[in-house]
């Protein structure tokens, strides 16, 4: 009765159709290990925009509705955990084929309103988490990505090339840093916690300087 996987199509069919349409692109099917069976398609940055346009305008499924754009910060440790889970689920998987170095990712959930299908999940990955963090913007194809890609830029730092208005959306313009990243350290604001415990107590014991005695 609780079934979000209705109207799911086999993403492998879409991958095959994309490979036929764009033979030089690197397109991969990625399994979703959970019972939700919402498998994903990983696109490469160079061909992502044309693949997106093809999916919307030319493909037989007519993916006209972009529902959700999410940013994800994959650290090396998280990827290692994922790899372990994949190998456990399917021992025939080649460990070398799984990503090891962390990256930032943008995940797109597409639906077809005309044919009542979905979700189709596209994933675009940056090269690394430090300096090569740009991806093509899919706003020219689906306008609903406009604000969501701005938010990913603000909170994760992915720069979307081709976006009409690439600037911060949630934090103020002078803010530095990308708060949703896993290595984000917040400012010291907890020293006056009345009942500190666990991580907060540890942090303020390490970093708090009592103004009375300067330690």
């Amino acid at each position: 009765m609780t079934d979000c996987s209705q109207n799911l199509i086999d993403a492998r069919e879409v991958v095959q159709a994309l490979e036929r349409a764009f033979p030089s692109a690197h397109i991969a099917w990625e399994e979703n290990l959970s019972p939700s069976a919402q498998h994903a398609i990983v696109l490469d940055s160079e061909h992502a925009l044309e693949c997106a346009q093809w999916l919307k305008e030319v493909s037989p499924w007519e993916w006209d509705f972009l529902s959700n754009v999410t940013g994800v910060d994959w650290t090396d440790e998280a990827l290692a955990l994922q790899a372990k889970a994949r190998i456990k689920a399917d021992p025939s998987v080649d460990p070398e084929s799984l990503p090891k170095e962390g990256y930032l990712e943008a995940v797109y959930h597409l639906y077809s309103i005309k044919n009542i299908l979905g979700p189709l999940i596209l994933r675009l990955r940056t090269a690394n988490r430090e300096n090569d963090v740009s991806l093509p913007s899919l706003t020219p194809v689906w306008r609903s990505a406009e604000f969501q890609e701005r938010e990913i830029f603000d909170l994760f730092g992915i720069v979307f090339e081709g976006h009409p208005d690439m600037r911060r959306i949630m934090m103020w313009d002078d803010y530095e840093g990308h708060p949703m990243r896993k290595d984000f350290v917040d400012v010291d604001d907890y020293e006056y916690e009345p009942t500190p415990h666990d991580a907060v107590l540890k942090r303020c014991q390490e970093r708090f300087v009592d103004p009375a005695n300067g330690r």
């Binding site: 939700s36 994922q82 609903s144």
Partner: protein
């Protein structure tokens, strides 16, 4: 639509309107920042508007004044611990927020929900939809100038529904009621009886409300033809909910991709013709009538059984590795939760797909060429709640 009495008062309305039409030469450009503290922006929302005379030529929304970091906090909180936070997203409808989140986790972990729990979920969600739409109309009409009175009527009905929520969950607004695999507690026959009384009394209130509003000259003239939206732009911009249905696109997730047991209920989906403010207003009125239908059927048909899956594990809940995107038809649009799990008790990524935020994508398009007073009611008709827009 001008009545005889209005036409006989002097120069015709049309003649006066054209002499102050937006194409007047020599009007200066003025930049106005509406908000974040503004009586009509429905929360802390700011719009940087550039005006030529009174016409909007540019409108840039500014977000983030209520950015409360739900997603970051969600990564540091257990799955069950995030349930009260979802109440605070769209703080009018805590039940539907809870349901969307519970649905996503159930999709992620493959948890079944018993039948009685599904019926309870439908009943609470539709009650939530009723009070959301009626309050929204109250606020929208307040923006048009009816300062307070329809809102008073709306809140009077809302209090009755909140009484039901309070007796069921203990809280008026932040109900924290759904759990993974069902609901937190069972509904008693007395509660169902009380709910039935509220539902039976609602159509009479709706008729009274409509009699005051739907044929009101001011409402009709201020909302017809204002803020029109085309179907293709709406689909392209990811608009969902009553805004999308006002343009004529037949997409209601309760019918298109039914979740829960919505496929058992008979109800219609109202659609609009022009996509303007009046259509959005009428669709919400009609949706309330349909919600009353659904509620009648649900209260009549609710079976006996478990209110939660007996095998559902709540404390120490660790879903399998993987991800899931679950979405429901919340009163404001498509509310979705995208969860990435790494097998630990806390999610790796907790993402809320906010309908209000995405519905604002075309705010500028709808407001261009309209007067600034119309921009206010267009914003009101989009139905935003800042807790959801900014998360």
């Amino acid at each position: 639509m001008m009545t005889e009495s209005a036409a006989s008062l002097g120069p015709s309305f049309e003649a006066v309107a054209s002499s102050t039409s937006p194409s007047m030469q020599g009007a200066e450009r003025m930049e106005v920042s509406m908000g974040p503290h503004h009586p009509s922006t429905h929360g802390v929302f700011r719009m940087d508007v550039e005006l030529e005379g009174e016409t909007v030529v540019k409108l840039k929304p500014v977000f983030g004044y209520l950015h409360r970091n739900h997603e970051k906090i969600g990564e540091g909180t257990s799955y069950l611990g995030s349930m009260p936070y979802t109440d605070r997203l769209d703080y009018f409808n805590s039940m539907t927020n809870n349901w969307a989140y519970a649905l996503s986790v159930e999709t992620l972990a493959g948890i079944e929900v018993p039948e009685r729990a599904e019926y309870i979920r439908v009943i609470t969600a539709e009650l939530s939809r009723l009070q959301n739409h009626v309050c929204l109309i109250g606020f929208l009409v307040q923006d048009m100038g009816a300062l307070g009175t329809p809102l008073m009527y709306a809140f009077r009905e809302r209090e009755r529904i909140l009484d039901l929520f309070e007796s069921l969950t203990g809280a008026r607004m932040m109900c924290n009621y759904m759990r993974f695999g069902g609901c937190r507690c069972d509904v008693s026959p007395a509660w169902l009886h009380q709910a039935q009384q509220v539902v039976e009394a609602f159509p009479k209130f709706l008729d009274e409300f409509e009699a005051l509003l739907s044929e009101n000259e001011v409402l009709v003239s201020r909302s017809q033809g204002v803020g029109a939206l085309s179907q293709s732009l709406a689909i392209d911009a990811g608009i969902t909910g009553p805004m999308l249905r006002a343009t004529g696109v037949n997409l209601d997730l309760r019918k298109a991709q039914p979740y829960g047991i919505y496929d058992r209920f008979e109800f219609r989906i109202p659609l609009g013709d022009h996509g303007d403010v009046f259509d959005r207003y009428m669709i919400r009125i009609l949706e309330m009538h349909e919600s009353v239908n659904i509620l009648r059927q649900a209260i009549r048909d609710i079976p006996k059984g478990d209110f939660i899956n007996p095998k559902a594990k709540l404390r120490g809940f660790k879903p399998p590795v993987g991800e899931a995107y679950g979405r429901i038809e919340a009163p404001k649009g498509e509310l979705g939760f995208y969860l990435i799990s790494d097998g630990s008790p806390k999610p790796y990524r907790f993402r809320v797909r906010p309908p209000s935020f995405i519905n604002l994508t075309i705010l500028e398009d709808m407001c261009l060429g309209q007067t600034i007073a119309d921009a206010v009611i267009i914003l009101g008709s989009v139905d935003i709640v800042l807790g959801e827009v900014d998360r």
